[in-house]
């Protein structure tokens, strides 16, 4: 098939975009999952969509292609372009613009009238190729499902018109500019911004993980399933699983998104990464077991990280830190960064953080950020403190210390 910068399905390109953006050290030969030609085509597409962000590097193993973006400098997520690259047939685009035009000022037209008007227009072209009735009916049905067209039965006749009643989009320019970047499924906001002339461009975003955009299609299926309490079946690599989605967990520091799930078979909660989901099928509605909401609330109040699959045991952890009397920003950090637990002042210069969490080992990265101030660390799971101090000794060694006992 001839190369096109447009694509039929978005799944394949996710892997390449992710690799160019996150990793960026891979060479052509490293993309072994597909043929070299497939790599060349995908790289060419990404170059076509995001040319200004493409960078190239050379090292001893060859040429590297990567996407280098400081997300603080941009007003619009460039990865949204991947969702503007859906392929279509010649007939799709012909029907789209003619149907939208034919129905533009109509209060209601039946299929025959639409067909007649369409034929009258197309017959003037060198290759008229008039679409048949079923093709136009199918397109109208598709547009009804999308919400572009509505139909009304009058007697035995079905009358089609364009959907009406929508807000004044100009009043949405700043809101759409903001939420298209900082809101869930922001790509939809970017589609809306495409329709607003003179869009507002004076927002910037710090700590902005633009890669989450690539999960938009997955989320557009999962979020309604959460509202409607429907099971989802997910293909993820070679595995397939079914569960009830309950919440979307978004990391503002990790660049990852997860779905909190309930498995009716074993009655346990788990979290799964959305970027590892290939396809999502929405299934039947289920009746949630009694008390699920209360169980969920209790469970969520003890989650620190995301490795909670089938968790049942809580770990108790306590960390004491030193903060000088002229360093109020240190206890302030404890208070604003803790996701659960409590912070208590012990004396003028010492503060105690304590919590009961699932898998306290997940707290290690956060605990390490207080390196230089930790005066005591205790955990009911001793492997947590052991790992912390072993890592610290290693850190000391790699920076030239002896990594040995001090006390």
């Amino acid at each position: 098939m001839a190369y096109s910068e447009l694509i039929k399905k978005s799944e394949k390109i996710r892997m390449y975009l992710r690799s160019f953006y996150v990793y960026g050290f891979r060479h052509r030969d490293d993309f072994t999952q597909k043929s070299a030609r497939s790599y060349d085509n995908e790289r060419r597409r990404v170059d076509s969509w995001l040319g200004e962000y493409m960078s190239f590097g050379q090292d001893r193993n060859g040429r590297r292609v990567f996407l280098s973006v400081n997300s603080r400098d941009i007003t619009v997520n460039p990865l949204y372009n991947a969702f503007r690259a859906k392929s279509f047939t010649d007939r799709d685009i012909t029907l789209h613009f003619h149907i939208m035009d034919i129905l533009r000022d109509s209060e209601g037209m039946n299929l025959n009238d639409i067909l007649n008007e369409l034929s009258g227009r197309l017959v003037e072209f060198d290759s008229p190729d008039i679409p048949d009735e079923s093709t136009v009916r199918r397109k109208l049905k598709e547009y009804e499902e999308l919400g572009l067209v509505r139909s009304e039965k009058t007697g035995r006749e079905k009358l089609y018109s364009l959907s009406k009643d929508e807000p004044d989009l100009a009043s949405w320019d700043a809101a759409a500019a903001f939420f298209s970047e900082s809101g869930v499924l922001g790509v939809l906001g970017s589609f809306i911004m495409d329709r607003i002339p003179g869009r507002f461009r004076q927002f910037r975003f710090k700590h902005h993980y633009i890669l989450n955009a690539l999960d938009s299609e997955i989320l557009s299926r999962i979020l309604p399933a959460i509202s409607e309490k429907r099971l989802i079946t997910v293909d993820s690599g070679k595995s397939r699983w079914t569960a009830l989605p309950l919440k979307l967990y978004v990391g503002t520091q990790t660049g990852r998104q997860y779905v909190l799930l309930y498995n009716p078979a074993n009655q346990k909660f788990s979290l799964r990464r959305t970027d590892l989901m290939d396809t999502v099928k929405v299934g039947d509605r289920i009746d949630c077991p009694e008390g699920l909401d209360e169980r969920l609330e209790e469970f969520c109040s003890h989650i620190w990280g995301v490795n909670i699959n089938n968790a049942s045991k809580l770990d108790h952890i306590e960390m004491t830190i030193y903060a000088g009397e002229d360093e109020p920003f240190i206890p302030q950090r404890l208070k604003r960064e803790k996701r659960c637990g409590t912070v208590t002042q012990i004396d003028a210069t010492h503060w105690l953080f304590s919590a009961d969490v699932y898998y306290a080992i997940e707290m290690l990265p956060w605990l390490r950020t207080f390196t230089g101030r930790i005066t005591d660390l205790r955990c009911s799971d001793e492997s947590v403190t052991e790992r912390f101090w072993n890592d610290f000794q290693e850190l000391d060694r790699i920076y030239g210390g002896d990594g040995d006992a001090v006390s």
């Binding site: 910068e5 990793y23 076509s48 040319g51 590097g57 372009n81 969702f83 690259a85 859906k86 279509f88 010649d90 685009i93 012909t94 789209h96 613009f97 003619h98 035009d101 227009r121 072209f125 290759s127 008229p128 999308l146 919400g147 959907s163 929508e166 807000p167 004044d168 809101a175 939420f179 809306i192 495409d194 004076q202 910037r204 975003f205 710090k206 993980y209 890669l211 557009s220 979020l223 959460i226 509202s227 979307l248 978004v250 503002t252 660049g255 990852r256 995301v306 208070k335 996701r339 950020t369 390196t371 101030r373 930790i374 005066t375 610290f392 290693e394 060694r397 030239g400 210390g401 006390s407």
Partner: protein, 303 residues
């Protein structure tokens, strides 16, 4: 369905071309301009053929179109449901969008369905009427390119009044805070919106005060891919401009560029990865890590 051609760049470019064709103002030059503005790098090789070559049967070879009105498509249900979801977000109070036509639409999601699990807990108060008023004043000044007079609370809890030229509002997803980035008195100013007591647009008296570029720094570190560190580190820092080179099978060299104001934040973020990361440059950064290690060793219980 989110991945659909009606949202696509080709449809946007074609709509712009047809708009000119309906007005009778379409030229070859304008067609290529619309393609450049709305579509992709290689679209110039495809769209003209579809349009002028009559493949898409929207424009005749003589440039006349059977399309009678300037192209328009209604919002899709998915777009409306997203807007309805946005209307439930506490931050929508900062804006004042029209809600007509959305009354009977179900939101695509509700705030309780989405948990930002590692977001800081002292974010801005979006229900504070003063905050909302200040935010809207700044947005209006940004639209009009006008200076503002800002009274804000300093770090030492005193009040200060300055005249600034606002350039943009920066939102941090981690902090859940807005900051005003502005030019003023040959300085680049960053003001937390929550610290602004009041602000007002001032009389236009000439050009805006220039915005100095932020001073940037870089840090280079070796990364050892243990405990899935490669993915965790690269994702964690993915929002920064960076370059990664593979040194050996499980060793990588990563260089990050960041705003110098954020140095302390970068330091603790790097420390959070423990011994998986070894900073190699610059020496001043290495010294700061050593200093924290030494301080930690001074506490008596390092075993």
């Amino acid at each position: 369905m989110l991945f659909h051609e009606i949202y696509g760049s080709y449809y946007a470019a074609v709509a712009a071309i047809l708009r000119d064709a309906v007005r009778g103002t379409l030229t070859e030059k304008k067609m290529y301009e619309h393609i450049r503005e709305h579509a992709f790098g290689e679209s110039q090789m495809v769209i003209p053929d579809g349009m002028k070559g009559e493949k898409w049967r929207l424009i005749h070879k003589d440039g006349i179109t059977p399309i009678q009105k300037e192209p328009y498509r209604p919002l899709t249900l998915l777009e409306k449901r997203w807007m309805k979801a946005v209307l439930l977000d506490p931050r929508i109070r900062l804006f004042d969008p029209d809600v007509s036509g959305l009354q009977d639409v179900d939101p695509l999601f509700t705030p309780d369905m989405v948990i930002f699990y590692d977001r800081y807990q002292d974010g801005d108060d979006y229900s504070d009427p003063d905050y909302i008023r200040n935010f809207r004043t700044i947005v209006q000044a940004l639209r009009d390119g006008r200076d503002i007079s800002v009274t804000y609370q300093t770090k030492s809890n005193s009040e200060r009044k300055v005249r600034v030229s606002p350039y943009y509002l920066e939102y941090s997803e981690k902090d859940d805070r807005f900051r005003l980035i502005a030019g003023g008195w040959k300085r680049r100013l960053t003001l937390n919106l929550a610290k602004i007591i009041s602000c007002e647009v001032v009389e236009h008296t000439g050009e805006m005060m220039p915005l100095k570029k932020p001073e940037t720094s870089s840090v280079t570190f070796e990364l050892e891919d243990r405990r899935n560190a490669l993915e965790r580190v690269l994702l964690h820092f993915s929002h920064l401009e960076k370059e990664t080179v593979q040194l050996e099978d499980d060793r990588y060299l990563v260089t990050l560029r960041y705003d110098r104001q954020d140095e302390t934040e970068m330091l603790i973020r790097i420390l959070s990865f423990g011994p998986m990361i070894k900073v190699t440059e610059p020496d001043s950064f290495v010294d700061q890590i050593r200093e924290r290690i030494e301080k930690q060793k001074e506490f008596a219980f390092f075993r």
